[in-house]
């Protein structure tokens, strides 16, 4: 495949902007750039065909099954795209007078109301642009809270379980906190004794995903949040896995003080190949005074933006990835009070069905019902046949299936983390199960064939070491 730059032909252009009619105004030479701009010269048809070809080399949710664990790659309803494209949303300047943005404010206000109801929180900021950004914001609220109580200097530690997403410890570091890892117990939950030993007067917070990355709902959740609260710490809910329990149980009722949501996972908005997402940060009332500036609020005249008294400031410009919130609100309105928990139950049903079937041959390291996802360990398979989780993942691609999340969580060796989501049909699941079975049998019969996978993809396995050792991070024309 050629790069866009390699399709460039001098003299081609689209002529989309006229020359100015007040050309007597010219930028003085002293300010002008010296090195020439070098954008490709293309006709519109070149661009159209180039990107159409590129789109054929991308696996989207519309292309096929996408059981990427912890990423909740559910089908993205198209109505959301059309609503978010309404000119009365897309052509609104963020600094227009408030009385001219009532519709936008209502979107934020309703989204806050509904998402607070779903999560058991009292207020929510839509400023964070993605899940990790929401984590960062949530920890800032916690930090500001401890500081406001004169406790900030001594509460320097954030506790995370060893099954946590990498963003949790990274977010702690961005807030100047030291991360303390606590181990999981035999059931895959938080080890309560280890947690009791870890908390103390230096505890700022515990960050927890529930259900966790093993797909297990921690039955000790009330005890866990109590242990942290008793030590004077706060409890942070990583909402990455909310899809399993939305409408069935609320983080606020589990004892969590702060949460972020991954709108682009749980609430049906597409992921865009890596964003834009939306990671709203919700909190209990006692933390609301610390929320970012421009907090949406309802008053007698409708919705307005307010400045919380002890605000942490801002984590980005304006009010977040607004159009993504529009899509999420559309999704929530479609599903409603019954549809939200129904979706959660559907995701759990699909995951348990696949888990039950796959456990006939694959090792599932943790017993019991899973939530929306489960983890396979291919450690034994690798030991016996040499076929690794990576090999299996690559073989799935040859069958039109996006691989599960690999080698995560870190506490399971040769892990494949599978999240089917509720929007997949039984025949899709059955076919995927069959493919997994075929791969397993191929591993025992002809391991080498799996080391060679994938064969039918755009490119085959890549030399990642070369990419990192000798970074080529942009296109440079051949010198000939």
């Amino acid at each position: 495949m050629e790069l866009l730059f390699e399709r460039s032909h001098s003299g081609r252009s689209l002529e989309n902007i006229p020359a100015t009619t007040v050309s007597e105004y010219q930028l003085p030479e002293q300010f002008a750039r010296r090195t020439p701009l070098d954008l490709p010269s293309l006709a519109e048809v070149d661009i159209s065909r180039h990107y159409t070809e590129l789109s054929h080399h991308v696996h989207g949710v519309n292309c096929g099954f996408y059981p990427l664990g912890s990423c909740t790659m559910k089908y993205n309803p198209k109505i959301g795209e059309e609503i978010a494209a309404l000119p009365n949303f897309t052509q609104i300047h963020p600094l227009q007078p408030a009385q001219t943005t009532k519709g936008c404010l209502e979107v934020l206000g309703l989204a806050q109301q509904y998402l607070c109801e779903i999560t058991g929180m009292d207020a929510m900021s839509f400023q964070p642009a993605a899940g990790a950004h929401g984590e960062f914001t949530g920890l800032l609220l916690i930090k500001a809270y401890h500081h406001s109580r004169g406790d900030g200097a001594k509460r320097t530690k954030v506790i995370v379980p060893d099954s946590a997403h990498g963003t949790n410890p990274a977010s702690a570091t961005m807030n100047g906190y030291t991360t303390v890892n606590v181990p999981s117990n035999a059931e895959g939950g938080v080890d309560l004794d280890a947690l009791r030993a870890a908390v103390g007067p230096d505890t700022a917070a515990l960050m927890l995903t529930n259900p966790n990355t093993l797909g297990i709902f921690d039955k000790n959740i009330l005890e866990i949040t109590k242990i942290v609260h008793d030590a004077g710490g706060l409890v942070y809910y990583d909402g990455a896995n909310l899809n399993a329990v939305m409408g069935l149980v609320r983080p606020g009722d589990m004892g969590f003080d702060v949460i972020h949501l991954n709108i682009h996972k749980t609430f049906g908005t597409p992921h865009g190949g890596g964003g834009p997402g939306s990671g709203p940060c919700g909190c209990k009332a006692f933390l609301a005074p610390f929320l970012p500036k421009d907090q949406i609020k309802e008053n007698a005249e409708g919705y307005c933006l307010t400045q919380p008294a002890q605000s942490i400031g801002r984590v980005r410009s304006f009010y977040g990835n607004f159009l993504v919130v529009v899509k999420a609100l559309t999704y929530i309105l479609m599903l409603g009070a019954k549809g939200i928990p129904e979706a959660a139950q559907g995701s759990v049903l699909n995951a348990n069905y696949m888990k039950t079937k796959l456990s006939e041959v694959y090792d599932v390291p943790y017993d019991g019902f899973c939530m929306h996802e489960f983890v396979l360990s291919l450690e034994k398979l690798k030991h016996e046949t040499g076929v690794s989780a990576l090999d299996v993942a690559k073989a799935l691609m040859d069958n039109g299936i996006h691989p599960p999340t690999m080698y995560f969580p870190l506490i399971v060796h040769e892990a494949l983390m599978i999240e089917p989501t509720e929007t997949e049909s039984k025949e899709t699941l059955d076919r995927a199960i069959q493919v997994f079975m075929d791969i397993y049998h191929a591993a025992t019969a002809d391991a080498e064939s799996l080391h060679q996978a994938p064969r039918h993809t755009t490119v085959r396995r890549l030399d990642e070491t070369r990419a990192a050792r000798n970074p080529v991070l942009k296109y440079t024309p051949d010198k000939d």
């Binding site: 954008l39 159209s48 590129l54 030399d463």
Partner: protein
């Protein structure tokens, strides 16, 4: 069936039999019963038609202006038709981050093209695949410059106030200091900067053109920063970058910016696009995704996410940032925009911006809206109005025009682009003549 679940009742029953349950609730055995939600206090679900009507009704409560003379961080530009056609392709819209390179070459190729374009525009060596927006890009850049000895960022007082707020908030997080550099005639005061620079300063952040539209003497500010051992971060407007000396030419160590002008609609503030570019020396401190070129086992050219040893999923608490999802589709948007507009087109957009803003400033001056700065500007400028700013805005709003942004002191920050041609400007001036003379 609601919830976009394709399963019918028979299939569901069959699956439950396979699992060995008679009710779905059995799978939720770990959730304490008294914690369960009885019924969500949400409206009942709606059909697509009803949902569409409701959302259209909500959107109709916004007022859409037919002409916009307001910028201040969000800019009204023309978006060529091809941009939407490409960006709305379902594969691009619905894919996840391209972890699995073999089935993501389309996205990875698009990103390396974006990286190439931003590197060229900023005159820097390397770029990442995007961050959330211009403000968070600026804040992440200050974090790249920090070390144990140097823990203070000096930020131009002429940076966008939301960018300043964002930098301050990130620095509250990582326990570093921020000080604002005073202004002189709307420009960052280089003499004041010289006095503030010492061995604790990690970086100087400056915006080009600045919040008041003024063209900064970035080269001189870079030299001053470097002389004191600090890095220079330049926040650049990507349209202005087509004409102005590039960040690289000015000696910047890091260039960041808000990419919204490159094909993204105003959208009440988002999604927008943060871009970050730097020198080879600082490459491994960049946060976020970066795409690189390599080969596959057959020796075929291929692209892949690289330098991942910086990132949270590998390094956890030692990562350069916590960023995971970025603004990939917006980066794609920007690269299609730049491809569609081309080198001459982008220069033409920038020339339009410059010329229209200067024509507007001259016309406003004739009505007594006098520029308060004498320093050179690009496509934004500040005037003191001859009457109250809100009266000006109300009058213009009646004619479907969004005027400049009223500032706290009663001045007005105006903006012109290729969309506000001589015709639109003359029309607004005619309206203002009614009250200003």
């Amino acid at each position: 069936m609601a919830s976009y679940i394709p399963m019918n009742e028979d299939e569901r029953r069959e699956m439950m039999d396979t699992i060995g349950i008679s009710s779905l609730d059995e799978m939720y055995v770990n959730i304490p019963a008294d914690m369960r939600v009885k019924k969500l206090n949400l409206p009942e679900g709606r059909s697509e038609l009803e949902t569409r009507r409701l959302m259209e009704k909500i959107s109709a409560k916004n007022k859409r202006f037919s002409t916009i003379f307001r910028g201040a961080g969000a800019y009204w530009h023309y978006i060529p038709a091809i941009v939407g056609a490409v960006v709305n392709k379902e594969e691009f819209v619905t894919a996840y981050t391209p972890y699995q390179a073999e089935i993501s070459q389309g996205v990875l190729q698009a990103i390396i093209v974006f990286q190439t374009m931003i590197a060229n525009l900023t005159g820097m060596d390397v770029t990442n695949a995007s961050v959330y927006d211009g403000a968070s890009a600026a804040a992440e850049a200050t974090n790249m410059c920090r070390d144990r000895k140097r823990n203070k960022a000096l930020v131009s007082g002429a940076a966008n106030p939301m960018v300043i707020d964002t930098i301050k908030t990130y620095c509250f997080g990582n326990d570093s200091e921020v000080e604002l550099i005073p202004l002189k005639d709307g420009q960052t005061d280089i003499n004041a900067l010289a006095e503030m620079l010492d061995e604790t300063v990690s970086c100087v952040y400056l915006q080009q053109p600045n919040y008041y539209g003024i063209i900064e003497d970035a080269e001189a500010l870079a030299q001053a920063a470097h002389a004191a051992g600090a890095k220079l971060i330049m926040g650049v407007n990507p349209i202005a970058a087509a004409l102005l000396k590039s960040a690289g030419e000015c000696g910047a160590d890091i260039a960041v910016g808000e990419g919204q002008p490159l094909g993204m609609p105003l959208s009440f503030g988002g999604p927008y696009l943060g871009f970050m570019a730097t020198t080879n020396a600082l490459m491994r401190k960049l946060p976020g995704r970066i795409v690189g070129e390599t080969v596959d086992v057959d020796g075929k050219r291929a692209f892949v996410l690289t330098l991942q040893a910086r990132e949270q999923h590998i390094r956890r608490e030692k990562a350069s940032s916590n960023i995971c999802s970025n603004q990939n589709l917006c980066a794609l948007t920007a690269s299609v925009y730049l491809a569609a507009i081309g080198t001459e087109g982008l220069q033409r957009v920038a020339q339009n911006c410059y010329a229209h803003a200067h024509y507007l400033a001259d016309k406003l001056a004739e009505l007594g809206f006098v520029r308060i700065h004498k320093t050179p500007f690009f496509h934004e400028f500040v005037t003191r109005p001859p009457l109250a700013a809100d009266k000006v805005m109300d009058l213009l709003a009646k004619h479907d025009i969004l005027g400049g942004l009223p500032l706290a002191n009663g001045d007005i920050l105006w903006c012109a682009t290729e969309m506000t041609t001589k015709e639109e400007i003359d029309e607004m001036i005619r309206i203002l003549e009614e009250v200003a003379k």
